[in-house]
């Protein structure tokens, strides 16, 4: 019988190893699924984890997919470190998409003449405001009325989705769109500038990387960053030290909502180029996994984003190449997070063999 014994201090080795082991378990489960479906596991897995790295075009696609994940997970990592459970990043992402997309739409229909370079900062601000405003609702209700932020932020995901749907089926619908629920295609001037000619990846990617750097500096090298992190695991100690949990709620939610909003705006004005009912691709939920896989650390978030984007692209490839449903991605994501949580037990506890119970 194996029993767990608490460690005197968390194991630093295990906290690094645990995502690696979890990744291994995920691959093993993935291989089993391919085998059970009568596909070659080796071929299936290489489609999932190797092909997304194969060649320049694949790598740029990987960067494109990582961009929203990095941005959203950075904000979530800050939240979770402060023990604020923002689960509704998906809704904040959508709202950023709506405000950013709305701005692009307005510039397009009004024919305002600006270049991509001038429009880009406006887009980022619009997205950040939309996402932050949506998260502010959560912060306000949590702060003023003590309403559970998990449930409120989640409910707002459904509301944001329906709001977007209302916009593109109603007031924002393209009049010449053959009744399709979508806006007009945005003008080229509002498009996110590309990093490399001919590839889809845009300026959003370096913005995400710089944000990670800024978040790292903020978390570990500023007084305010430290304050926020103390408030999470030890609210009593934080109160004693005079740190306000109210301001932690506002700061973390506005920051994470803003970042999710930027991600949404970049997605809408980048690869999508218009608003449709399907802006939501689950990035907000996938980013939760990224934040945990990345150990709630900004640089870890970058690594985690690459891993999870690999699964996203792998899912698409599995569909087109191997003929498996792309929903496989969801299984990979879920198994990865579950395995990670299970392995994390070994950070705090030591397994011991014992004869008795």
């Amino acid at each position: 019988m194996i029993r767990l014994e608490p460690r005197t201090s968390p194991s630093p080795l295990m906290s690094v190893l645990s995502p690696v082991i979890a990744f291994g378990i995920t691959l093993a489960v993935g291989g089993l699924i391919f085998w059970a479906m009568g596909k070659d596991p080796a071929q299936g897995l290489s489609t999932f984890v190797l092909e997304p790295f194969n060649g320049t075009r694949a790598l740029t696609e990987l960067a494109l997919k990582s961009t929203p994940l990095i941005l959203i997970s950075l904000g979530l990592a800050l939240c979770y470190r402060s023990n604020v459970w923002n689960i509704g990043a998906e809704g904040q992402f959508l709202m950023g998409g709506i405000t950013g997309g709305g701005l692009a739409l307005w510039f397009t229909t009004a024919g305002v003449g600006v270049g991509q370079v001038a429009f880009f900062p406006l887009l980022l601000v619009a997205g950040a405001l939309g996402g932050a405003a949506w998260a502010a609702v959560v912060a306000l209700l949590r702060d003023r009325f003590n309403a559970n932020e998990i449930l409120v932020s989640l409910m707002l995901v459904y509301v944001a989705n329906l709001f977007l749907s209302w916009l593109v089926f109603g007031p924002w619908k393209d009049p010449d769109g053959f009744n399709f629920p979508q806006t007009v295609s945005f003008a080229a001037a509002t498009e996110v500038p590309r990093l490399i000619k001919g590839m889809r990846v845009g300026w959003g990617f370096p913005v995400a990387l710089l944000t990670a750097l800024a978040m790292w500096l903020f978390m570990f090298h500023t007084y305010r960053g430290l304050q926020l992190q103390v408030g999470g695991p030890a609210p009593a100690a934080a109160r004693y030290a005079g740190f306000s949990s109210r301001s932690a709620i506002w700061t973390t939610l506005l920051a994470s909502g803003g970042l999710a909003g930027v991600a949404g705006a970049l997605e809408v004005a980048g690869p999508m180029g218009q608003l449709t009912p399907s802006v939501s691709t689950g990035y907000g939920f996938t980013a939760i996994i990224v934040a945990f896989v990345g150990r709630l650390h900004p640089l870890g978030c970058i690594l985690g984003s690459v891993v999870l984007s690999t699964f996203l692209i792998g899912g698409e490839l599995a569909q087109s190449r191997v003929g498996l449903p792309s929903a496989l991605t969801g299984i990979f994501q879920g198994v990865l997070l579950l395995a990670l949580l299970a392995c994390d037990t070994l950070v705090q506890y030591r397994p011991r063999w014992s004869a008795t119970r």
Binding site: L154, M155, L162, L328, G330, L341
Partner: protein, 306 residues
């Protein structure tokens, strides 16, 4: 008049899955375990139930399959949070994410297939009563079972020794452990029962309520069920009322449209979610009151070695 009767009937039917799932979560939470995996559990159960209904044509076999699927998913959750002491929030989320992915994957061939099952149970004689006949007595048997379940859970929690032990474990697992009760096993049992009930609710959704499997069709009802346990301050009777209240809000759209009110369908569909937020705000305004009613060890891990 007849429209109102139909509204009542639809409300009962829409409230039933919420009531059943929330009752399962209530049992979980009374034992001190917070299961944020409800949404994913319901999705897996919905697809399992639909699949079995598709194969056998028997809705009760489908409900059983839903319950079994729900219990199996919760077994993973329970093992992680109770034996490995993983964070209950994060693990529940992981289950929800896994459940939505897994159900989408497994159900890919079932999407949009119609299901032809038996007509709702109409109670003889009672069904012909004016108003009440249409409103109450022509429902699926599950609607009445949900009511009976509420009574059963209330009786169990407040009138039986086992219920007392369960509540004690939710309040203070350490004391219950000191008294010699197997805290972890009892918590696991609560999680399994909770998962099975979420499963029945999921199967009801895909087999009876909208006899159709569509990806993500639980549409937040798992989360609403979680909110309901807070709304009801962890009391069964209030939980049932809350479920019908939400069922009514869901059905308001249909009712208002019948009355000729012109509001976009998307905006009307926001109502249940906005109502959940509103209710959470109203109920949580007084933190002292919530703390008084909430099981004291809710969401906190228990490790007997310490």
């Amino acid at each position: 008049m007849n429209e109102l009767a139909l509204l009542v009937a639809a409300t009962l039917s829409a409230g039933t899955p919420l009531a059943v799932a929330a009752m399962g979560l209530l049992i979980n939470e009374r034992a001190g375990v917070l299961n944020l995996g409800a949404e994913g559990t319901m999705l897996v159960a919905a697809v399992a139930g639909f699949g079995v209904a598709w194969l056998t044509g028997n809705e009760w076999a489908a409900m059983a399959a839903g319950a079994l699927a729900g219990a199996l998913v919760s077994l993973v959750f329970g093992w992680l949070v109770i034996w490995l002491n993983t964070n209950q929030y994060a693990t529940g989320l992981a289950i929800s994410l896994f459940g939505s992915g897994f159900s989408a994957f497994v159900g890919i061939d079932l999407v949009g297939k119609p299901l032809a099952l038996t007509a709702p149970l109409a109670l003889p004689l009672l069904r012909d009563l004016p108003f009440l006949g249409v409103a109450v007595f022509r429902q699926h048997l599950m609607v009445y079972l949900a009511m009976a379940l509420t009574g059963g859970v209330a009786w169990f929690l407040y009138r039986t020794r086992a219920g007392l032990v369960l509540r004690a474990i939710g309040e203070s697992p350490t004391s219950a452990h000191a008294l010699g009760y197997p805290v972890r096993l009892i918590r696991l049992a609560a999680v399994l029962v909770g998962g099975a009930l979420c499963g029945v609710a999921g199967a009801y959704l895909s087999v009876v309520y909208t006899p159709l499997w569509v990806e993500g069709m639980v549409a937040g009802r798992g989360w609403i069920a979680l909110a309901l346990t807070v709304f009801a301050t962890w009391r069964p009777a209030r939980l049932l009322l809350g479920a019908y209240l939400f069922g009514g809000v869901t059905m308001l759209q249909m009712f208002l449209q019948a009355q000729g009110v012109q509001v976009a369908a998307q905006l009307m569909s926001m109502l249940p979610y906005l109502a959940t937020v509103l209710v959470l705000v109203l109920i949580s305004r007084n933190p002292a009151w919530i703390r008084l009613n909430m099981p004291a060890s809710l969401g906190k891990p228990f490790f007997p070695g310490l």
